[in-house]
Each structure stands twice: as structure tokens, then as C-alpha cells.
């Protein structure tokens, strides 16, 4: 075949393929961008121009029935709002950290390891978790006779600095020979939860590679008395700074024995 013949053979394909595909595209655009939004918007009392702008995404909303409004005032469980800028500062140590920490050592220990097991260890805890709790004390989301007045005297940058300071400290060392034999049902709670009670695994948020909220604290190497007291505080709702009542709903389903044994588990087990 001559090239000219080939071109004759090919031209109708080029033309028709472009026309058909272009036509289908045009039909979809007219329907999706004009006809449907305008017709639906008409029923919802939205003028055609606004309806088209909403369909394209230039104006927020979609052309459906207007939603009822509410005058209820939101009451967040915490005032902390995470931002990348805040997280960045929580990864940078400053000189201010050690200075602010001077006010903490009496209860939380020189290196963030509390001498009284009623108080939490801060050493090696994530800076994000420490920041969240201090901020909550300051704003009243979490209340404690000692911590609330202390946190209220701290400025935002001091809270950030001291959080980073303790996060960098070495965690309490554990003597593996003192680790207690842990009950199977407690390990199961930690690793698997209890679907029959709709209890998620502790690990699903507190585990090493978990996908839970970023402010979730590390539990291993923590003091058992402190852990047990917090679980009970969540259970009787005297502590309420957990978003979506996550810990309140979990702890409400735990027995006294489970609370004690879980605290024991985290305080004495090397991993997790």
C-alpha cells in the first residue's frame, strides 16, 4: 500500500475516535457540571450559578437539602490542637528544658524517675504525651491538686521545653529477674483485647508500631501504682481528658484484678 492509501484508511479512525470520545466527555461534563447540579439545586432553593460553582468545588457544599443548624456549644475534652509546627518544636531540645525541669524533680526525680511510685516516671516518655498532659493541666482539662497550679504558672514555650527535656532522658531500667510471671489473660488483653467486651487491645494504641493517636503515652517502665490509679480515675470519670472517652470506656469494662495486673504487667515487663 502506498502511504497515501494508508492515510485514507486511517483518517476516518482518527476523526471518529476523537469525535466519539470527545462527545462522551462533553456529555459527561454537561450532565455533571450543569444539568444535575442545576436541577438538584433548584429543589434545594440554590440558584443555578451557585449550584454549578458548588458542583465544581469552587464554593463549599453540595446541592442537597440544607442541614439543620445547632446552637449547642462544643466542649472539647482537651484544648490541645496538634500542628506540624508544634510537633517540630517538640522534637528540638532547648536549654530552657533543664531549667524548667528543676521545678519537677522533687516529685518526678532528678532524671525523670519518680521516687514515689504514686507519681509517674517522665524519663523516656514521648514529648508529645508529656506536652498534652501539662497543657491539659494548665487549661483545666485534667485536674490535680499539685499539678494544676504548677502547670498554670508555666508558659507555652516552657511546657514545650520541659516535655522535650524529659523525653530525652533514659527510661527506668528494669531488672529482668524481678519480672513477674504474667497471667495469660492479661497478655491477651494487651495483645488482642477482648472482643466479647468490645475491649480493644492495649497495643492497638500503646504498642510500638500502633496506629493510635500520637499523644498516646508509652506505658512500659511506668510505675504500677500510678498506672492503676489512672485506670481507676478513668473508670470513675474523675479523669476526663481522653478524646472520644477512649480510656473511660476501656477502663469501665476492666475488673479490679485486671487493672492491678495490667499495671503490674507494664511496670515489670521489658518489652511493650
Amino acid at each position: 500500500m502506498k502511504p497515501a492509501d494508508l492515510d485514507d484508511l486511517d483518517r476516518p479512525w482518527r476523526t471518529w475516535a476523537s469525535l466519539i470520545i470527545g462527545g462522551m466527555l462533553a456529555f459527561s461534563i454537561v450532565m455533571g457540571f450543569v444539568v444535575i447540579p442545576v436541577v438538584q439545586g433548584y429543589g434545594a432553593g440554590i440558584d443555578p450559578f451557585t449550584a454549578i460553582c458548588r458542583a465544581v468545588g469552587l464554593v463549599p457544599g453540595s446541592p442537597s437539602t440544607r442541614q439543620p443548624t445547632s446552637a449547642a456549644k462544643a466542649e472539647p475534652t482537651t484544648q490541645v490542637a496538634w500542628s506540624t509546627q508544634l510537633l517540630r518544636t517538640l522534637s528540638r531540645p532547648t536549654d530552657m528544658g533543664a531549667v524548667v525541669a528543676e521545678g519537677c524533680v522533687a516529685c518526678h526525680g532528678q532524671r525523670g524517675i519518680a521516687s514515689d511510685p504514686q507519681n509517674p516516671n517522665l524519663a523516656g516518655q514521648s514529648a508529645v504525651a508529656i506536652y498534652k498532659q501539662l497543657h491539659d493541666y494548665k487549661t483545666g482539662s485534667r485536674a490535680n491538686d499539685i499539678m494544676t497550679p504548677i502547670a498554670q504558672t508555666l508558659e507555652e514555650n516552657q511546657i514545650r521545653a520541659v516535655s522535650v527535656h524529659f523525653a530525652a532522658a533514659n527510661r527506668r531500667s528494669l531488672d529482668p529477674t524481678t519480672a513477674e510471671v504474667v497471667d495469660e489473660d492479661i497478655v491477651r488483653l494487651v495483645e488482642r483485647g477482648d472482643p466479647a467486651r468490645a475491649l480493644p487491645a492495649c497495643n492497638s494504641c500503646h504498642g510500638f508500631s500502633a496506629g493510635g493517636p500520637i499523644e498516646t503515652p508509652t506505658l512500659s517502665h511506668q510505675n504500677r501504682e500510678y498506672l492503676a490509679r489512672q485506670l481507676r480515675a478513668f473508670r470513675d470519670s474523675s479523669r476526663r481528658n481522653d478524646i472520644y472517652t477512649r480510656m473511660r470506656s476501656v477502663s469501665a469494662k476492666l475488673t479490679d484484678r485486671e487493672i492491678n495486673r495490667l499495671a503490674e504487667f507494664y511496670a515489670t515487663t521489658l518489652q511493650y
Binding site: R14, A17, L25, I52, P63, T84
Partner: protein
């Protein structure tokens, strides 16, 4: 054996080895979701397993199968040596390195993010880099496929490219378009986040970029099966291909309509507007066209074969088909599953109905039926068809192959039909365990057990498949089939075809137009709308 045959064997063995491991994991996952107590079950173990299963099935099995089969087609359909065999081997090694990186990070517990790239949940960067290497290997394959066809066209000016190769290159061209979305997402968003260079990420943009890839990747997996439908099944049945032009049109339509449609995965997402979702939905509906063309053409081709074999009457030709041949049997079973899977797909792509099945088990069941069923059963048939030509050996009896195909079909139906039903009941996907103490969820239990039984049948079939492949290596009988042509001749073999049906220049232009219309504004808006950034959550313990 030539270079390309060893190359094909290496690719296919890697693909099917990954497949076999992933089958074991899949069965365990269904066990974990059932009311029976599964061993070793923790949420972490479950998500590790789902990630490994997804990566092995969706990236390793498919990519290496497509590549290996492509090298085979390039050599056998074109009848000329594969160009750049060294680059092909190098790409294979790069692919293996990538797979190894993914395996180490998944089983090291630093990549429990499933096989979809949906931030802000972010895995170890080495997981993503490993998968990028697999994609890079497949790009080399695309280049070699295009070069092979171009070389053949230079030597045979004016002659139509054999359909099997035309389809393979359609897949390569589509794959180059396809991987732009996910590569952009990984290179510019996810990998920097995984290294900790960024703390925030625009998930609206990353989900949109992933959707660019998400539908076309399925056709990348599917096209080898369609190549088998068009070129191998009519030949195996002893007939002819009803229409070569229909075949070319089908693969062209796959190229065009697999790409500007991915937003049907984002119907429930807030970052895109209704009009663009509608546009992509209506383009998605056109994807039904190549499927229906194929059903028609292959049924007509089979009817020709059946009638040539003496079949009479309206349906008599069906009984007259040589169902004892694995390729014919697999085609019949694949078509049967295609009706159910395709029907489910029409529900998924409908903007309104999608809301009912979104994020439920329906979706998982759907893609297991259409991919694991229709596509993978044809992978088996392709393997059975080409393996004798690779090793020169064939088992004396094909019975074990037929049993394997039937087991796969039965297992897949038993697995997926209850799974669809549970999706309609509201069973959610991506969940490790269910609270069977809840009376509503308790009613799901028996159906999950049925699916689990289906999974066990599939595992038996997978085991038999590997055994059957080994038979090709150790059987005594010499494969006479190796000498038979594999590819069907059309009823009217094309003497000349227009350039539009012999290359992809026109179609690339049209794809570009459609992609700009469908994705131009939805992606561009991310650069001027100050979208809120989601905070990265890394699961590798670095975050």
C-alpha cells in the same frame, strides 16, 4: 532455551512463589475474622499478614506475571529475539531487591499499613522504596515491550502487529500512564514523610494521586487474562478468533478508559467535588464496553470452535467444546465469575449505590472475585499453556490441572459470595477481629465460616497448582504442544489495519485530553487551596 525463556521462567516462578505464600496468609486472615480461635492472632499480626498478602498478590504476583508473560509474547508472537535481554535481567534483579526490601520491612513489623498507600499512616521508608524499585523494574519492561514492537514494525512495514503483542504493548503504554500517579504520591509526599522530613501531608492530594493509579493498575493485572481470552482460548478450543479488530478495540478501550476513572474510589472523600466525581463515574461506565465486547467476541469464537467440532442447535456447541483442555475450561470458569464480579463492579462505580457498600466487606469480596477469580484463573491457564514450551516437558495427564482449576473456581465462589452478602449486612473491611458476642455480629459468624471453608479449598488448589508446575519440570513426556502454535488466527486475518489499530499515537493524545479533563483541576486545586495538613503517623516506631 533462549534467553527470553529463562527470563520468563524466572519471572513466573517468583510470581507464583509469592502467590503460594500469600494464599496461606489469606486463609489465616479469614480464620482470624471468623468466630473460631485462630492461632497467633494479634491485631499487629493481622495487619502484618494483610499487608504481606496484599503486596504479594497485588504487586509481586501480578507485576512479575505480566513482565514474564510479556517477554514470552514478545518473542513468540513476533517471532524475533527479545531486544535488550540484559536490561530485562537487570530489571528482574532490581525487582527482586525491591521485593526483598518490602518483605523485610513487612515482617519486621515496620510496614503494617496494608498494600494501599493511604497516608497519614506511614510505614518505614524502605517499604516504599522497595515497591518503587519493583515499579522501576516494570518501567524497564515497558521500554523493552515498546522497543520490541517498534523493531518488528520496522522490519514489517504496513503489516498488522500480532494481536497478542499489540495488547501487551497497550498494557505497557497504559502502565506508564498509570504509574505516574502513585509515583508522584510516593516520591513527593509519602517517602519524604516516611523519612521524617515532613510532619504533615495533604491526604486529599495523596488519595487523589493514588486514585489515578488505582483503577488502571487493575487492568494492568487483567490484560494478560484478556490476551489469553483473545489469542489462546480460541486456539485451544480448536477454533478461530471471531474478530481481530474487536480485540484491538478492546485493548485500546482499556487503555483509554482505565485512567480517567480512578476517582470512583473517592466517592465518599470530601476533597473532590460532585461534578468531577460524576464525570469520572460516567467515564467508568464506559469501561463496561470492552468487557462486553470481549464477552461477545470470545463467545462467538467459542461458538465457531463448538460448531466446527460438530455442535448443533442453539446451545449444542457449548457441550461440543473441548472442556478437557485447561485453557478452555479456565476461560469458561473465568467468564462465569466475570458475570458476578462485573455486576458487583457496576454497583461499586455507581455514585449513589457506592455509599451503601463503601468500606464494607462487599468491596474486598468484589476484588477477590474479579481479580482472584477471573484474572488469576487465567494466569493458571496461561502457565499451563506456556510451561511445556518453556521446559519441553508435559505431564502425561491433564487431570490434575483440571481438578486444580475446578477447585479454584469452587473455592473462589464459596469464599466470595457470602463475603459480598456480609458486606451488604454492613460488615466492615480492614478489621482484624469481630465481637461475636454482639447479637448482630454473631449472625455474621456462620457466613464467615463458609468463606473460611472457601479459603481452605483455594489453598488446596494453590498447592496443587505449584505441584502441577513442578510436574512440567520433572515429567518424562516430551511436550508436543510446544510445537503447536499458541495464538489463534482470526476468521478474517487482517492484511492491513489503520495506524490507529496498529499503534498508540492517537490514543495517547486522547488519553492526555481525558486525563486533563478528569484530573487537571482536581489535582491543581491542591496547589492553591490551602488544604489542612494531616499529621503523619509512622508505624515504624520513629514517629
Amino acid at each position: 532455551m533462549t534467553h527470553a525463556r529463562r527470563l520468563t521462567l524466572a519471572h513466573l516462578w517468583l510470581a507464583f512463589a509469592a502467590f503460594a505464600v500469600a494464599c496461606v496468609l489469606g486463609v489465616w486472615q479469614m480464620w482470624a475474622r471468623s468466630p473460631l480461635p485462630a492461632p497467633l492472632l494479634t491485631a499487629n499480626a493481622y495487619f502484618t499478614s494483610v499487608t504481606a498478602h496484599g503486596v504479594a498478590m497485588a504487586y509481586v504476583l501480578t507485576t512479575f506475571m505480566v513482565m514474564g508473560f510479556g517477554y514470552y509474547v514478545a518473542e513468540t508472537a513476533l517471532g524475533r529475539p527479545l531486544p535488550f535481554p540484559r536490561i530485562a535481567w537487570l530489571a528482574f534483579l532490581v525487582g527482586i531487591l525491591g521485593v526483598a526490601m518490602a518483605v523485610v520491612t513487612i515482617f519486621g513489623g515496620t510496614a503494617t499499613v496494608l498494600f494501599t498507600f493511604y497516608p497519614p499512616l506511614t510505614a518505614s521508608p524502605w517499604f516504599y522504596i522497595g515497591l518503587v524499585l519493583v515499579v522501576a523494574a516494570s518501567w524497564a519492561w515497558c521500554g523493552i515491550m515498546i522497543a520490541a514492537m517498534a523493531g518488528w514494525k520496522r522490519e514489517n512495514p504496513g503489516r498488522p502487529v500480532p494481536l497478542a503483542m499489540f495488547a501487551t504493548v497497550a498494557n505497557a503504554v497504559m502502565w506508564l500512564w498509570t504509574t505516574v500517579g502513585v509515583s508522584a504520591e510516593l516520591v513527593f509526599q509519602v517517602i519524604p514523610a516516611a523519612f521524617g522530613w515532613n510532619l504533615g501531608i495533604d491526604v486529599g492530594l495523596s488519595r487523589t494521586l493514588f486514585s489515578w493509579t488505582l483503577h488502571a493498575i487493575v487492568y494492568f493485572w487483567l490484560i494478560p487474562s484478556y490476551i489469553a481470552f483473545y489469542t489462546m482460548a480460541p486456539q485451544a478450543a480448536g477454533g478461530r478468533l471471531y474478530s481481530d479488530t474487536m480485540g484491538r478495540l478492546t485493548f485500546i478501550l482499556f487503555l483509554i478508559y482505565s485512567l480517567p476513572v480512578g476517582m470512583h474510589h473517592l466517592f465518599m472523600d470530601p476533597q473532590q467535588s460532585n461534578a468531577f466525581k460524576f464525570l469520572q463515574m460516567s467515564l467508568t461506565a464506559l469501561v463496561a464496553a470492552p468487557t462486553l465486547l470481549t464477552v461477545f467476541t470470545i463467545t462467538a469464537s467459542m461458538e465457531i470452535a463448538g460448531r466446527l467440532r460438530g455442535g448443533r442447535g442453539l446451545f449444542g456447541w457449548i457441550a461440543a467444546l473441548p472442556w478437557e483442555r485447561p485453557m478452555v475450561l479456565a476461560t469458561g470458569l473465568a467468564f462465569f465469575m466475570l458475570w458476578f464480579g462485573g455486576g458487583g463492579g457496576l454497583i461499586n462505580m455507581s455514585y449513589g449505590m457506592n455509599a451503601m457498600v463503601h468500606n464494607t466487606s462487599w468491596v474486598t469480596a468484589h476484588f477477590h472475585l474479579i481479580f482472584g477469580g477471573t484474572v488469576v484463573i487465567m494466569y493458571f491457564a496461561i502457565a499451563y499453556a506456556i510451561w511445556p514450551t518453556l521446559t519441553g516437558r508435559t505431564p502425561a495427564s491433564l487431570k490434575a490441572q483440571r481438578v486444580q482449576l475446578w477447585l479454584w473456581f469452587i473455592g473462589m465462589m464459596v469464599l466470595t459470595l457470602p463475603w459480598h452478602y456480609l458486606g451488604l449486612q454492613g460488615q466492615w473491611r480492614r478489621v482484624a477481629t469481630f465481637n461475636y458476642a454482639d447479637p448482630i455480629i454473631a449472625a455474621w459468624g456462620p457466613w464467615v465460616l463458609v468463606s473460611f471453608a472457601g479459603g481452605l479449598i483455594l489453598l488446596a488448589s494453590a498447592g496443587l497448582f505449584i505441584w502441577n508446575l513442578l510436574e512440567f519440570h520433572r515429567a518424562r513426556a516430551v511436550a508436543f504442544s510446544a510445537l503447536r502454535p499458541l495464538y489463534a488466527v482470526a476468521v478474517h486475518p487482517p492484511a492491513r489495519v489503520p495506524a490507529a489499530l496498529n499503534g498508540f499515537a492517537l490514543w495517547n493524545v486522547l488519553v492526555l485530553v481525558l486525563m486533563i479533563a478528569a484530573y487537571g483541576y482536581p489535582i491543581a486545586q491542591a496547589f492553591w487551596i490551602n488544604a489542612p495538613q494531616a499529621i503523619i503517623h509512622r508505624v515504624d516506631g520513629r514517629g
